[in-house]
């Protein structure tokens, strides 16, 4: 670990006017070939390279990114981290990630600003309560720390919330204390820094056009900087994964949808935990700069424009202004959209496929950021050993044929 960051390093550099900080990573041109090519330079891709090098000793790796690293969904999410998913397979996968988050800053010696301030899912009707009580009980048996909060406890944790005087009153909440938020850019930069140090090539502004195969075995990839040979190709390019899979003759059940988010202007601390409300599509947390980061719902149609419709913003803000009356006098600073690739059962794909040496990690929908370290870790294991890790065994491609789905859409719609 050559570059060491600490308060001491800040003081040392202060004396030399901060002029000789070392370069975090190089941006070389691609070599002729590598053992493993990772397509997609987001948190998941760079993380996979890090764990391949650190835990499996594979260092002759290239991470190929079409734009700038961390520029896709890694730089466009609402930074929420939790693992209180319903089904066992999902709970184990996401909690594997939360455990890695808990000392990622130390491991990468780069501050992820991972703040375990708790994540709260609000219940607005009887159906929500039943669904959450079931999820809490399932989480408990899986060793997770989710608990039920009544309205009074919620008001103590979030004083600015109006729980009673609104169209769908807040009747309670499922709360996971170990959940929280982290700085999204730091994940990509931290993984890039440390994997680059171990010899991994990080190639930016180089777009993979198609994947070359020869009788069901992967040969390499054609890129805007020419053909690059590889024995193994791991595609982790969110919405574009299905486009690239097509070039290798593999079909993926992905649909890419805009998922929008917005931030308010910066104010002094007002909310110290993360509050999610599925019924009204509004998720809120406050960044360290003081901006309130708000997540909205997905748009109802496929799109890659990283924008989405204005009406989605209106839907979320309508709910937030009622849930938090202080928003009546606050202003929206920025709005943007990411592209989330969604599977029919709202669970990811971390899997081999019929083509030898070709692996896919995609379909994360709205859960991509929170899963970054866990996904990268088990994907590295899958690529290195050509066998899935126990944790991601269930998230294979075959489930869409035999029907063994892991449906995280939550219970069916309200009925009775």
């Amino acid at each position: 670990m050559r570059k060491k960051y600490s308060f001491l390093s800040l003081i040392k550099n202060a004396f030399t006017n901060n002029e000789n900080w070392e370069k975090m990573w190089e941006s070389p041109d691609p070599k002729k070939g590598y053992d493993v090519i990772i397509v997609g330079g987001g948190g998941h891709g760079l993380g996979t390279a890090y764990y391949l090098a650190k835990e499996h000793g594979i260092k002759n790796i290239a991470v190929i990114e079409k734009g700038w690293l961390g520029g896709g969904n890694t730089g466009r999410n609402t930074t929420i981290i939790r693992s209180n998913y319903l089904w066992n397979e999902s709970a184990h996968l996401y909690d594997h990630s939360v455990k890695l988050w808990e000392n990622l800053s130390e491991e990468l010696n780069f501050n992820m600003m991972f703040s375990q301030r708790g994540v709260m899912n609000l219940a607005h009707n009887e159906h929500d309560i039943k669904e959450m009580k079931r999820r809490i009980s399932a989480n408990r048996l899986n060793g997770l720390d989710t608990q039920w909060l009544d309205t009074k406890e919620i008001e103590e944790l979030v004083p600015i919330m109006n729980t009673k005087n609104l169209r769908y009153p807040v009747l309670g909440a499922a709360f996971q204390p170990r959940g929280g938020v982290a700085r999204h850019d730091a994940v990509a930069w931290g993984y890039a820094l440390r994997s680059n140090e171990m010899g991994v090539d990080i190639i930016q502004n180089c777009e993979v056009k198609d994947i070359q195969t020869d009788n069901h075995k992967v040969k390499g990839v054609n890129t805007s900087k020419g053909f690059i040979k590889a024995d193994k190709v791991a595609v982790v390019a969110s919405g574009h994964t299905s486009v690239l899979a097509q070039t290798a003759g593999v079909k993926l059940p992905l649909q890419s949808r805009p998922l929008q988010a917005l931030v308010s202007e910066p104010i002094k601390p007002v909310i110290n935990t993360v509050v999610m409300s599925n019924a009204v599509h509004a998720y809120v947390s406050q960044s360290d700069k003081g901006e309130l980061v708000i997540g909205a719902g997905t748009d109802g149609y496929n799109s890659f424009t990283q924008r989405g419709g204005y009406d989605v913003i209106e839907e979320t803000v309508r709910a937030i202004v009622e849930l938090y009356p202080i928003f009546g006098k606050m202003k929206m600073l920025r709005q943007w959209g990411g592209i989330v690739d969604i599977c029919p059962d709202a669970s990811p794909i971390i899997s081999k496929c019929d083509v030898k040496g070709l692996y896919f990690n995609c379909g994360w929908g709205t859960g991509g950021f929170k899963a970054t370290p866990g996904s990268a870790n088990v994907f590295a294991h899958t690529v290195a050993n050509d066998q899935p890790h126990k944790i991601n065994e269930a998230f294979n491609l075959e489930r869409f044929s035999d029907g063994r789905l892991i449906d995280e859409h939550g219970a069916a719609a309200v009925a009775h």
Binding site: Y5, L10, A14, F15, N17, N18, E19, N20, K23, M24, W25, S27, L69, G75, H92, E106, N109, F110, N111, S115, R117, N125, K130, R134, S137, R140, L141, W148, R167, D185, A186, W189, S264, E265, P266, I267, P269, Q286, D288, G290, R307, G309, Y310, E314, V317, R318, A319, V321, G328, K329, R334, W336, D402, G403, D407, A411, A412, A413, A415, H416
Partner: protein, 995 residues
């Protein structure tokens, strides 16, 4: 009000008002903004910067302001309000932000002393201390110093939306906007002009650049133009309205402040959000002056040249009598003329251009008024205690001299305001003549006019507009525009001036709002963050509430120099809407608070209220949850009472919220057989059947009762929540898969109210109410229905029940609903009829082992899983979802199946949502995951059986009948011993239903 007052400014009244700033009272003129009012009282220090808490003053005179953000205490503490925009009124109470204990003495400025340590991205490189320290110690500290304003007070706004559909939208009521408008007067285009100020005119009123138009002074020309426009039939003007968002297919969002310069009346709508759909958009929103980076360019007293000029011309106040002017272009001479007209004089005019590039008129005017002139020179820096006191000038021979001054006005040139154009997905291009980006290829019907299109010349402005609007076939308009400055704009590239001061504390700012220095840019590039988006995120450059309006192009200039690339190769960061911070209250409009979502009510809603119903939200419906017999009756007590009484005598439920669909046509039977799992072919007319609807994945989507009038006419009921989804599902398959089927659908949910009466005494009650109908078992068997005429309306009674008791569902026109409901109660009194709510309905159906879609099923349950094999038409060739039922995973034996569960100790209660396990105790701290067989989907204390009954979905449940297992409890570690039983707890042989 000690500052110089420009008497002949026509946009400010001389009426005095009183304002309060940080507790002290000042006087100002009605029409002043907070900024112009404070400048009138020579107040320079107005806030503290974001990171280093350095003293900051008023830097501009508009929306692009990076520093002067204040809190309006008498408006619910509204934070981060731009002093340069917010208009004052008598009694407004303003406070500065981000400083403690006071503006002049701020503890936070310790950050400035430690600033060499707090370099760009310092927080990524430290604070990683022992586990949990980040959350408990470092983060709270950082969060307290960050963030600008204090949080506002709670406020329920009444702002509204106003939609518009126009042919042409003109953004900006300045010179170009007005010329375009005059060309469109009384044409057949419906035009809307949107102007952010309360006066039209733009550059005409904001500067001294234009002397006259067609011989008239600018004020007269604007008034004359405004009269013409208001007189037209086809043009409307919106003032005090700022366009913030340019959506796809020409849909723009603009925010109007309805209380400009007035105290807000909180029961009126203080903001209106205009949502404008237009065929053509004309962007005439002008340009923004950019600053120059030099040492201490953030000191209070540094103000952009055109802003200084705007305070004189638009607000009638000269912020200083002898400012130093530092420019790299030909436009700042108009500021000099403004000062001379007022009897003031710049104490120096520093122009960085080469001597022979500087216009002769400028040189002559400066020498005529003996203004010290420094050609080919630049400002090296300035110094002073919380305000400018000295300005250091580096002359052409590189020597540095200093002069005394209290204000310094830099001008780094002008950027066309391309934010909205890029939001419209248009592409911009670099223009070396104006050294900035300008609009190039539009993606939508977007036309840019005047300075926003990069055309800074006045002479050929009319010809540009005539050419660009020629497709509208309007009249040619040519105006004689006389200017105070030379028409062709000249500029020399200058992003920053270097300092030879080696101190670690000397700072030259590239982003005033987020305290980003030019050294930070260099450091970020050294560390490898050389992509412009990386740079922005690592240094937070241009991510403040001003989005770097006066500085983002400068940062591209500096970065391109360091990387030795052309600026167009460096590219820009994404322009993310909105153009300026947009009020949340305005975005929400009136569709929030009490109007967030409609409250759907059944026709007898008021009867429920009168009879102390407690309501539950079911989708948008308000349904009675239970009825309080006396004030203090709890839900548990009410539900036990209602459930017991229904089984012993009779109970009635308002079921009007259930979906009802009328299906009719030649191929109705074939259609129903394809949509539902059941076989309807052999079903006799006038009978009804409980039916299941699946998705193509084989999972249960909805259920309901189907009444068959004949093979060509059915009526289907659905769950309340599923009603819109089932209707849409039927329409989709009819139109897209089976257009050959002649079938028509009508939703009749609201054409019939539904009363479900059940219980042993039900037959007696209905016989009394409908005396002419024979309710005997022979004449009216179970699962059949009759249609009849009730007071000339179509009515229907079906013998079915969701409680397991003898029951009838009465479908009646809403016109007679209340009257019939009360008649039923009149007769029901002597049979002890009780009204019950959804909670009792849940309990009674659970006693009977009936499932609820969405509770027993969660989108992963097939009919076989809940023993509904009997509902699957085996001989049917196809129905939606049939193929999925035989997939390997759905045909598995060990799937979760529906069972009943009772506690061995009858006094214990099982909680819904808990799980069935094989171990008696749970460890207090669960480390390794514990296997479970399934979860409890429903659980109630049955008053009719006097013990808790539950339904559960557990793995291979059918094989576990009679087995002893355990159910977890929410908190404890001791599990409840239970026995697996059949889910039907009452009347398994259905005797009560069919007798």
């Amino acid at each position: 009000m000690s500052a110089i007052n420009n008497k002949n400014c026509k946009y400010i009244s001389q009426v005095e008002i009183k304002i309060t700033f940080d507790g002290k009272s000042y006087s100002a003129f009605d029409g002043d903004t907070v900024a112009s009012a404070l400048l009138r009282n020579n107040i320079r220090l107005i806030g503290r910067s974001f990171k280093y808490h350095r003293p900051r003053g008023i830097y501009t005179c508009g929306i692009e302001e990076p520093n002067a953000l204040v809190q309006i205490l008498n408006e619910h503490n509204e934070p981060n309000t731009r002093a340069t925009i917010k208009r004052t009124y008598d009694g407004i109470n303003i406070s500065s932000q981000n400083r403690w204990p006071s503006l002049s003495f701020d503890i936070g400025s310790i950050n400035n002393i430690l600033s060499p340590i707090f370099s760009a991205g310092f927080y990524y490189k430290t604070f990683m201390g022992p586990k949990g320290f980040w959350k408990k110690i470092y983060e709270p500290l950082i969060r307290r110093t960050a963030g600008l304003g204090k949080p506002p007070k709670n406020f329920r706004s009444k702002s509204i939306h106003q939609n518009h559909n126009v042919d042409i939208l003109i953004v900006g009521g300045g010179l170009s906007g007005l010329i375009a408008a005059r060309k469109l007067i009384d044409t057949n285009n419906e035009v809307l002009i949107v102007e952010q100020d309360c006066f039209l005119g733009g550059i005409l009123k904001n500067s001294n650049k234009v002397k006259s138009i067609d011989g008239k002074n600018v004020f007269e020309w604007v008034n004359e133009t405004e009269k013409l426009i208001l007189g037209s039939k086809n043009i409307k003007i919106l003032k005090n309205t700022l366009v913030t968002t340019y959506n796809f297919t020409n849909h723009l969002i603009a925010l109007e402040d309805k209380f400009v310069g007035k105290k807000i009346d909180t029961n009126k709508s203080e903001l209106t959000l205009h949502k404008i759909r237009t065929t053509h958009t004309i962007l005439a929103n002008g340009h923004i002056e950019r600053f120059i980076s030099f040492r201490n360019n953030d000191l209070p007293g540094v103000m952009l040249a055109s802003s200084f000029e705007k305070y004189i011309e638009r607000y009638g106040v000269a912020p200083d009598e002898n400012p130093v002017i530092f420019t790299n272009n030909s436009s700042t001479i108009s500021l000099v003329k403004s000062l001379i007209n007022l009897g003031c004089k710049p104490s120096a005019y520093i122009d960085s251009r080469n001597k022979n590039d500087i216009e002769d008129e400028t040189k002559d005017y400066l020498s005529k008024n003996n203004i010290p002139f420094y050609p080919e020179s630049e400002v090296e820096g300035c110094e002073g205690n919380k305000k400018v006191e000295k300005v250091y000038i580096r002359s052409s021979n590189k020597e540095i001299s200093s002069i005394k001054a209290s204000m310094l006005c830099p001008s780094g040139g002008f950027n066309p305001d391309i934010h909205l154009f890029t939001q419209s997905k248009g592409l911009v291009k670099w223009d070396d003549k104006i050294i900035s980006f300008k609009p190039d290829t539009a993606f939508q019907n977007t036309i840019t006019l005047g300075s926003v299109s990069g055309n800074y010349k006045f002479k050929d402005l009319c010809s540009e507009i005539n050419k660009k609007l020629s497709f509208l076939k309007t009249n040619e308009l040519n105006l004689e525009i006389e200017t105070n400055i030379r028409d062709d704009f000249s500029i020399k590239e200058l992003w920053e001036t270097k300092t030879n001061k080696k101190s670690k504390w000397s700072k030259s700012f590239i982003d005033l709002h987020n305290d980003v220095t030019t050294k930070d840019l260099q450091q970020a590039i050294n560390e490898g963050y050389d992509r412009i988006e990386h740079l922005k995120r690592y240094t937070t450059n241009s991510m403040g509430t001003d989005q770097g309006k006066i500085s983002s192009i400068n940062s591209l200039g500096i970065v391109s120099k360091i990387l030795k690339k052309k600026i167009s190769e460096v590219g820009t960061t994404t322009y993310r809407p909105p153009y300026a911070p947009l009020s949340f209250a305005a975005i929400a409009g009136r569709s929030t608070y009490e109007y967030y979502d409609p409250e759907r009510k059944t026709p007898i809603h008021n009867w429920h209220i009168k009879n102390n119903a407690v309501f539950e939200d079911v989708g948008q419906w308000k349904r009675p949850w239970y009825f309080k017999k006396y004030k203090t009756e709890t839900m548990h007590q009410a539900v036990q009472r209602e459930s017991k009484q229904t089984r012993q005598s009779a109970g009635i439920l308002d079921g009007s919220t259930l979906g009802k669909i009328e299906i009719k046509g030649k191929d109705a039977l074939e259609f129903m057989n394809l949509m539902y799992t059941n076989a309807f072919t052999k079903m006799k007319p006038m009978t009804s059947r409980y039916a299941l609807m699946l998705g193509e994945d084989g999972m249960i989507m909805d259920d309901g009762i189907i009444c068959k009038i004949n093979d060509k006419h059915f009526i289907a009921t659905t769950t309340s929540g599923g009603a819109p989804k089932v209707f849409a599902h039927m329409e989709e398959f009819l139109q897209t898969e089976w257009p050959h089927l002649q079938v028509y659908l009508n939703s009749i949910t609201e054409q019939f109210t539904t009363f479900n009466i059940s219980g042993p005494k039900a037959r007696e009650i209905v016989s009394k109410v409908f005396s002419d109908i024979d309710f005997s078992n022979e004449k009216f068997p179970f699962m059949t229905f009759k249609t009849f005429n009730y007071k000339n309306t179509q009515a229907r009674i079906m013998r079915a029940s969701f409680t397991g008791e003898l029951g009838y569902e009465i479908y009646i026109s809403p016109q007679h609903a209340l009257e019939l409901w009360e008649l039923i109660f009149k007769h029901g009194k002597d049979f002890d009829l009780v009204p019950y709510g959804t909670e009792t309905m849940h309990l009674l159906r659970a006693e009977k082992g009936y499932v609820v879609i969405g509770q027993e099923t969660d989108g992963t349950v097939t009919p076989i899983d809940i023993n509904f094999n009997w509902m699957i038409g085996k001989k049917k060739k196809d129905f939606i979802g049939k193929r999925s039922l035989t997939r390997s995973d759905t045909a598995r034996e060990d799937r979760k199946q529906l069972v009943g569960i009772v506690p061995l100790d009858k006094s214990q209660f099982i909680e819904e949502g808990q799980h069935i396990v094989e171990c008696e105790n749970l460890p207090s701290k669960i480390k390794m995951p514990i296997e479970y067989l399934g979860h409890i989907s429903s659980s109630y204390h049955s008053p009719n059986l006097n013990h808790c009954i539950s339904m559960a979905m557990i793995k291979s449940g059918n094989k576990l009948m009679g087995k002893k297992l355990f159910v977890s409890t929410p908190k404890g570690t001791k599990n409840i011993p239970v026995e697996i039983v059949s889910p039907v707890f009452i009347d398994p042989e259905n005797k009560r239903l069919t007798s």
